[in-house]
Amino acid sequence: MKYIEENPDGIKSAEIVIGIPSYNEASSIFFPTEQADKGLVKYYSNRAAVIINCDNDSDDGTGEAFLGVKTQTPKIYVSTESGVRGKGNNLKNLFLKAVELDAKAIVVVDADLKSITPLWVRNLCEPVLDNYDFVAPLYIRHKYDVTVTNNIAYPLTRSLYGRRVRQPMGGDVAFSGALAKQFVETEFWTEKVGAFGIDIWMTTIALRSRSSVIQSFMGKPKLHKIRDLDSHLDMMFEDVVSTMFDLMIEYESFWREVKWSRPTAVFGFGLGDVEMPPPVEMDTHRLWENFIGGIRKDWDLYADVISRENLNKLEEVVDLPVGGFEFPAGLWAKIIYDFAISYRNHSFDRSKLVRALIPIHYGKTLSFVTETQAMNNQQVEEFIEDQCAQFEKAKSYLVEKWFA
C-alpha cells in the first residue's frame, strides 16, 4: 500500500510510536494528541518517541489540526491515498511505518477519544516494554454498551482461540515491533479488515500466533464521539462478523484443537477511584421490533442456514412475550456457529448472510437487557462469563458440523 507522508522533523527511528487513526477528526484530534504527548513526556522522556496520525486523506483539515498541536514529541502525518477509507487501512500504514522506524512498542488510540489520560499511554505501553506482545484494553463499560463485543466478539474469540480477552475490539491497544512485523507479513487481508474489522483482526492474529497477550486496565471509561448508533452498528457488525468468519476459515486447523479457555492477566492497578461509565439507554420496544421485523423478512434464509433443531428453538423464542423474553445463550451460540458454517460454504452471498444475523442479534440484545436489568456490573460480568461458557460447551457442535 502506498501512503502520503509529512515528516517535518525528519524522524528516521523511534522506540515508541503512538498511532492515532482518523478520518475527518479535525475537531477532536487535538485532545488525544495532547494527552499522548503528555503521557510520553511524563513516563518515557528518556526514550525516542513519535506520534503518528494515520489518516484517510481527510478533507476537513485533520492533518493540519494534528500537525498544529504543540507537542514536545515529534509528529508524523501519514495518509492513505485519496479515496481509500477505513481504520484498517490507516493502521496498515501505521504497521509499515512502525516497522520502518524500528519501533519497539506501538500504541494505538482513537482520534475521537474524550477520556484518554496520560496514564493510558503508560498502561498500554509498559507491558510491551516488559516483553508482552499485545495489550488489549480493559475499560469499565456500561452493561448495555458494546453489545457486539458482549454477544459475539468476546465469546466467539474465546471459544475459538482459547484466550479470554474481554475487549477484543476495544480500539485502544499496544503491540510490540515484532508483532507489527507479523501484522505486515500476514497475507490474510480483506476489505472488511481494512475497515472496522481491523481491531478483531489484530487480536486474532496475536492469539493465533500465540503471542504473549495481556489486558491493561484503563481506569476511566471509554468516552468518544457519539455516532448514529443504528447505521454505525450495522456497518460495524458486518465488518466485524465477516472478519471473524473469514478468520475462522483461515485458522480452522488451529481452533479445531482448542478446548476450553485460559485467562489473560491484567496490568494496571492502583489507579485510585475508578470512574463509572455514563448510562446507555436501550429501547426494548425498538429492539423487539427490529428482531421480529427482521426475523419475518429473513425467515426463508434462516430455514436454509440454521439447523432444524435450532430453528425450532428460535421459533419458540419468537413466540415469547416481550416481558419475560429470553434468548438462551446455548441456542445463540449454535446459531452463530450455523451462520459461520453457511458463510464457509458460500451458501448465500456473504454480505447478505451476515446482515441477516443482525435481527437475531437484536433479539439476543433484548434478552440481555431484560435479564440483566436489575444486575450490577459484577453480576453482569458473571452473566457474560456464563454465556461464554455456553459458547465453549457448544464448540463440539461447531467442530462436528464444520469438519463433517
Binding site: L138, Y161, G162, R163, R164, R166, R210, S212, Q215, F217, F254, E257, V258, K259, W260, S261, R262, P263, T264, A265, V266, F269, Q378, E382
Partner: protein, 121 residues
C-alpha cells in the same frame, strides 16, 4: 497423574481437599500460605493450583499476579470463602473462581476443565 497444589491457611481445608482430590486420582501437595510458593512451583511443577485469597499474611490475588508473571499458562483456581473478591479485577487472571463449600463438586468440575484446556503451540 495430574498434580494439584493447594495453598490455604486453614489446615482443615487442606486436609479435606487433599483427601477428596486424592480419591479423584490426583497427586496433591499443600502449602499453608504463600511463603516459598514460587520455589515450590519451580520444584514440583504442579499442573494446577488451588489458591486461597484471604490468608493471614498473604493475599492470594497478589500471589496470583506473581504466578502470572512467570507462568503464563499455569492453571490457577481462586478459592475463597468470600464471593466479594470477585469485584477485584485481579481475579481476571485466574482460570476460575470458586466459593468455598463443603460440597466440592464445583471445585472438582473446574479442576477438570482447567486440566483439559488445550491451546495448540
Amino acid at each position: 497423574m495430574a498434580k494439584i497444589l493447594i495453598v490455604d491457611d486453614e489446615e482443615g481445608i487442606r486436609m479435606l481437599y487433599s483427601m477428596e482430590l486424592q480419591d479423584e486420582g490426583y497427586a496433591v501437595i499443600t502449602l499453608p500460605d504463600g511463603k516459598g510458593l514460587m520455589e515450590v512451583i519451580e520444584q514440583e511443577q504442579p499442573d494446577c493450583i488451588i489458591l486461597d485469597i484471604k490468608m493471614r499474611e498473604y493475599n492470594g490475588l497478589d500471589l496470583l499476579q506473581q504466578i502470572r508473571k512467570k507462568y503464563y499458562d499455569l492453571p490457577v483456581i481462586l478459592n475463597s470463602a468470600y464471593s466479594s473478591f470477585k469485584v477485584d479485577l485481579k481475579t481476571v487472571a485466574a482460570d476460575y473462581y470458586v466459593v468455598k463449600s463443603s460440597d466440592l463438586t464445583e471445585l472438582k468440575e473446574k479442576i477438570k476443565l482447567a486440566l483439559e484446556c488445550s491451546i495448540p503451540k
